[in-house]
């Protein structure tokens, strides 16, 4: 052991620089060899998600309790608003029924082939572990529930993100606000196509709009289905003009209080999407 002593001394002396170098090397490896890191991520997340599941329950209960009291305060106003909304929706229901019947009869005339019905799996959000610069959440459903990489994730109101990593019983969702999220969208009334690009802020940017195109605040934004990753027509959000006149989108789903999300399987994924769902999308 005497021979090793000087060597050991060297290691001791440069212990911290060596560890920092090690961390830097790991970052490089993660950058170059995404697949292996991805595997490790999947395994570790799978192992930890039951623990997170248990730990997130009390937080959720406390939040529910607070929400309950908050709702008690404006119960009366809320009731009036809902009554008003209900009567409005009833009118819409009539319109929808009429249109549905008309639509069906027209489809039968054209022998239109409808899209296959989507299959939905609902999971609980148990962690948002990314910290300051990564917008992801971990949900309690995985491969054995039929979740696959690239599938769209919705909350009640709109698109939340897409599945980027699938374990046996947990998966990771890349939110639409993440720096790496890019979603082809279309504006509702102008039919203008654009790319929704997350920039870690709460309201992602609308990019690749033609310079002369007019964007009206309040217009609704849907997925366009280009690239084949998402089916067309999923509601995403509402246009707003942000600071500096840049068009941004306010997501319909409240991403800061996700409790349950639905993973939607619309059938096969192909085209450019195949590339997008490859490992390495989340380095």
């Amino acid at each position: 052991m005497r021979i090793a002593a000087p060597l050991w001394g060297m290691v001791q002396r440069f212990y911290f620089p060596l560890l920092i170098l090690g961390a830097a090397a790991l970052m490089m490896i993660g950058h170059v060899n995404g697949g292996a890191v991805e595997q490790a991520r999947t395994r570790v997340t799978d192992a930890v998600s039951p623990v997170l599941n248990v730990m997130s329950r009390p937080a959720a209960s406390v939040a529910d309790g607070l929400e309950y009291f908050r709702q008690l305060v404006d119960l009366h106003d809320e009731n009036a608003r809902l009554r008003e909304e209900n009567s409005r929706l009833r009118q819409w229901e009539q319109a929808a029924l009429r249109l549905d019947a008309e639509n069906r009869s027209l489809r039968s005339l054209l022998s239109f082939k409808p899209d296959p019905a989507a299959r939905v799996v609902t999971g609980r959000v148990v962690g948002d572990p990314g910290g300051a610069f990564v917008r992801t959440v971990v949900v309690t459903i995985g491969e054995r529930d039929g979740v696959a990489r690239g599938q769209a994730v919705m909350s009640g109101q709109g698109l939340v993100g897409r599945i980027v990593q699938v374990g046996d019983w947990s998966s990771r969702v890349l939110l639409i606000t993440d720096l790496n999220a890019r979603i082809p969208v279309v504006l509702e009334s102008s039919r203008q196509r654009a790319m929704l690009a997350g920039d870690n802020s709460d309201h992602p940017l609308l990019t690749y709009l033609p310079p002369n195109s007019e964007v009206t605040p309040g217009e609704r934004v849907f997925t366009s289905g280009h690239g084949g990753l998402f089916p067309p027509g999923l509601p995403v959000g509402i246009v707003e003009i942000g600071v500096g006149g840049k068009p941004r989108v306010v997501p319909m789903a409240d991403l800061s209080r996700l409790e349950h999300v639905q993973v939607v399987d619309f059938g096969t994924v192909g085209g450019v999407a195949a590339e997008a769902t490859q490992p390495g999308a989340m380095k």
């Binding site: 911290f16 560890l19 961390a23 970052m27 890191v37 991520r41 910290g131």
Partner: protein, 169 residues
């Protein structure tokens, strides 16, 4: 003889307290709270634990263990692998060289020390991400994170001190 074995087990369990507490702090930091903007500015509980234990019992929280905890955080968090380890190890290095200065000082000095470390950690974290994405990112989330850490440090320090006194003295 059985008593000896029990003592040994007891001692081992006690010695594992800093490690367990730090890992727990990491997991607590990952629990989603339905507060607007919370996911962005998660309180750096882990950094607080590191600060406390490196100053008071560095023998029970070795650099290599801290490195591994950082790695675990990166694997679960989806952050670039090794980035959290780097932040934690740099903080460890700074703390272990300044340990004598902090020991036996007043609480206010500890608090100021933590504020410095939290700011430094935020700066390193920001630089790593800015380098990785090759763009000037908004630094506000990490700064708010550091501020939250500083604001909650007294509470956490009190909790850790209770644990320290109860199991390790």
């Amino acid at each position: 003889m059985a008593g000896g074995l029990f003592n040994q087990l007891d001692q081992t369990a006690r010695n594992l307290v800093p490690f367990t507490v730090t890992v727990l702090a990491m997991l607590v930091g990952m629990v989603p709270l339905p507060l607007p903007g919370y996911a962005m500015v998660t309180v750096p509980f882990m950094l607080m634990c590191l600060f406390y234990w490196v100053i008071h019992r560095p023998d029970l929280l070795r650099p290599l263990v801290v490195f591994a905890i950082g790695l675990l955080q990166d694997l679960i968090g989806g952050t670039p692998i090794g980035s959290t380890s780097m932040v934690l190890i740099m903080a460890y290095w700074l703390l272990i060289t300044q340990r004598r200065f902090f020991l036996g000082r007043s609480f206010v000095m500890l608090w100021i020390g933590f504020a410095l470390v939290a700011t430094g950690a935020a700066a390193v974290q920001w630089s790593v991400f800015a380098l990785m994405t090759a763009s000037l990112l908004d630094a506000r989330p990490v700064l708010v994170q550091a501020l939250m850490g500083v604001a909650l440090f007294p509470l956490m320090a009190w909790l850790l001190q209770r644990l320290h006194r109860a199991y390790l003295s």
